[in-house]
Subunit: 456 residues, 2 copies
């Protein structure tokens, strides 16, 4: 099948492709919130049905103790290479709802972008694979074997994926895991991700007095847990923007000058970046560029904080409790379990005796780097060259896809991180979007990848 | 009328008195939250009706631009002294509701305590005055003139009381303002409050990036407003527990050794205090006792903080905004307007250029001290002696009743702070309560006060 032929097929069917994606986006598959439980399950069924329609050999719902995994396969010839597509059908919570210009679960196209929760992360990106596969199969052009493994718990730490992978090592055998859950630099500068940060995510609870008190009657005599929590959080960074937890940097892989200059080769305009983010100044660890701060340096961020009265008006309460969700992005060779432990030990040690603290780790994830000399990277480079007319940059992203290290460890397979998102997609934020261009170009690039990968 | 006679009247009618109070407590008159608007107004009507039933000469609802003021009077003889009773019929918000053992607006007596929002602050205490007046009038024993001024905006800064007072200087003329919105040390150690702290209450908003971001994709390159807010809040105290805002202590009245030892004469058991609060250690400004920290030293407390994701599970957001409600308790001669300004200037000055801050003052209140050699204090001491068999301590409380300085300024009248609450009442907290003993003993003490005050 010629490049032109399946480009035409994508063009001719683009309206239907988008309509199907919209149907997928309409289901609020928020895995972190149990009230969406039925919706998450419905989404798995939806994905399975669309895969069957794409004429795979088989597609099945595999139950886990959490949300099910959708597995499908299309085997064309055992002697040909096999691609294992990974994606997820669950999405982040959509709140705060009031900041969305159109409702998060009613997809809408404005200025060439699809607005909806999950538009980019990861329904839009995952669905490109379903449509690329359909394109190849319908046009009788699929040159290799394809397996799909689409989970529903990525946003809650992929709790049951490891078990599934361990139980199905044979079934999942492949030459590469293909994942579209990352981004490109921009539509003029396509790129392939070769590194991802890991994650350690903690929840802390600081208790002062056993009940909420009147801040007038008691203020000044007893520790206020919010003030204490603020002081503790403030102490987690030094003046150079470094994390102060003892041992935090011990295992951080230091890169060679050559590697650092490769990272800084990617176009990055700090002025434009500031403008896009709406800030007067950037921040971060002294001595590193923006690309390095994202790609190769670990961080610590508060993802949420709450305590006391947060409603309208003024309430003079001295709260009993204060809470925060604090996460750390990890780089090779930091390990989430070790960082969880270092954090817990340190956080408990800095608590004054006027309060009690409780530290609970949420899911973590390993950082990952993928080899840059693999057949998959070679095929991907060619696919980008064909579809975009440019060789892609090789970049390190700041986000986490913890399952990349799982696949390396359990299946012995490297991943190819070929995502088509943009920074402006606002994933995990209100008004998440995904470019119609990126969706269709992604389908094209993936299809081309199959052709090249079968040959290398 | 003999002491015994009206003691009997109170005893005979106590069930009805309590039932009426329960009806009052059932109306959720939360003035800080506009959704309770109709309930707040209904409460004013309720108070007016009960005053009419107590056979005052007149009782009226006086409209303001906010919630109305209930005014009533019973004039027995223009040549006799006049007492102006002040109280409030509005209450604090009841959230978090889930921490209440019984619903906040369904009063319930357990172990001799009435549990409900407003049970102590101030419906229970205010209603003692309605019932004390009824007791005196019904028994034809009222020896002086009594006026009532009960407002519905105390918990939102008494926004329209000043206007009412200025417009009604003549009508409100009296020899003393009698207020029961404070407490006693405990039921073995009755006390009269002679000092109150003032209040400056600020809301701050810190903005980092213009939208919520993915903490992986952006973490480490841009300031996180929660981390910045924590750092700013942490810097507001030094290691000695002193507030670091420049000029904050400039006007603080330093007390003589004699005054300090008078304050420390009141029984205060730090061990018991810690136990009651459920803390291992107390906190506060170095160099001062607990009684001094409450009574004569200013403070800064976070009353509420929020930002980012605060729901169930883990969301990897780098928030756009973080907020806090921060209040300062003031002592003589600090002024809320000046402190608002000092705070605002300082808070803006410590903001790094990676964020934008907005500071908004809520209502404030002046600190107050009342003279200890007035006829009212003399009469109150005698009333306590009769009712409790003990001379009351003279104490300074940590809370604020901003209107005390208003009455001094606009009417030239000092206030007598004769409240009967206990620390354990948990006002402004879940499970607020008021002792049945305190309610009834309060009615008795107030009635005795009228008798003594008419004579001094």
């Amino acid at each position: 099948m010629s490049t032109t032929a399946f480009k035409s097929y994508i063009e001719e069917n683009q309206d239907r492709f988008l309509e199907e994606l919209f149907d997928l986006l309409r289901i609020p598959s928020v895995s972190t919130d149990s009230k969406f439980q039925q919706d998450v399950r419905r989404t798995a069924d939806f994905v399975k049905e669309r895969l069957l329609e794409a004429k795979v050999d088989k597609a099945e719902i595999v139950e886990t103790e959490g949300y099910p995994i959708v597995y499908a396969e299309k085997m064309v010839d055992p002697s040909k290479p096999t691609v294992l597509v990974y994606g997820h059908y669950d999405v982040q919570p959509a709140d705060p709802y009031e900041l969305w210009k159109s409702p998060p679960f009613e997809p809408e196209v404005r200025d060439g972008k699809i607005y909806a929760r999950g538009a980019s992360d990861d329904k839009g990106q995952m669905y490109m694979h379903v449509k690329a596969l359909e394109t190849m199969i319908v046009n009788d052009a699929l040159p290799c074997n394809v397996k799909f493994m689409i989970e529903g718990e990525e946003e809650v730490g992929s709790s049951h994926l490891a078990g599934f992978v361990k139980d199905n090592r044979e079934k999942l055998q492949a030459d590469v895991v293909l994942i579209s859950d990352t981004g490109i630099i921009d539509n003029e500068n396509p790129s392939i991700t070769i590194g991802l940060r890991g994650l350690s995510y903690m929840e802390v609870e600081v208790t002062g007095p056993r009940i909420d008190l009147h801040s007038g009657m008691f203020g000044g005599t007893v520790a206020n847990p919010v003030n204490v929590l603020c002081r503790m959080i403030a102490s987690l960074h030094d003046e150079q923007g470094r994390v102060t937890i003892p041992g935090f940097y011990d295992k951080v892989a230091e890169l060679s000058d050559e590697e650092r200059s490769e990272i800084n080769r990617a176009p990055q305009d700090d002025e434009k970046y500031k403008q896009e983010l709406g800030v007067k100044a950037l921040a971060g660890e002294d001595g590193y560029t923006t690309m390095e701060r994202i790609g190769i340096r670990p961080t610590l961020d508060v993802n949420g904080i709450w305590g006391g009265y947060t409603g309208e008006g003024a309430k003079t309460v001295l709260p009993s409790k204060a809470y925060a969700k604090i996460s750390m992005r990890l780089v090779p060779n930091q390990h989430p379990d070790e960082i969880d432990e270092l954090f817990t030990k340190h956080f408990e040690s800095i608590a004054p005796d006027t309060v009690q603290v409780k530290v609970t780790p949420h899911h973590g994830g390993e950082p990952a780097v993928v080899p840059t000399d693999s057949p998959a990277i070679e095929a991907a480079k060619k696919a980008f060259q064909d579809a975009w007319g440019k060789e892609p940059f090789l970049t390190r992203e700041g986000g986490s896809i913890p399952i990349v290290s799982l696949f390396q460890k359990e299946l012995g397979i490297d991943s190819l991180l070929m995502g088509f998102g943009l920074d402006e997609d606002a994933i995990h934020s209100p008004n998440e979007s995904y470019g119609v261009f990126n969706f269709l170009k992604g389908i094209e690039t993936i299809s081309l990848f199959y052709q090249h990968f079968a040959k290398v």
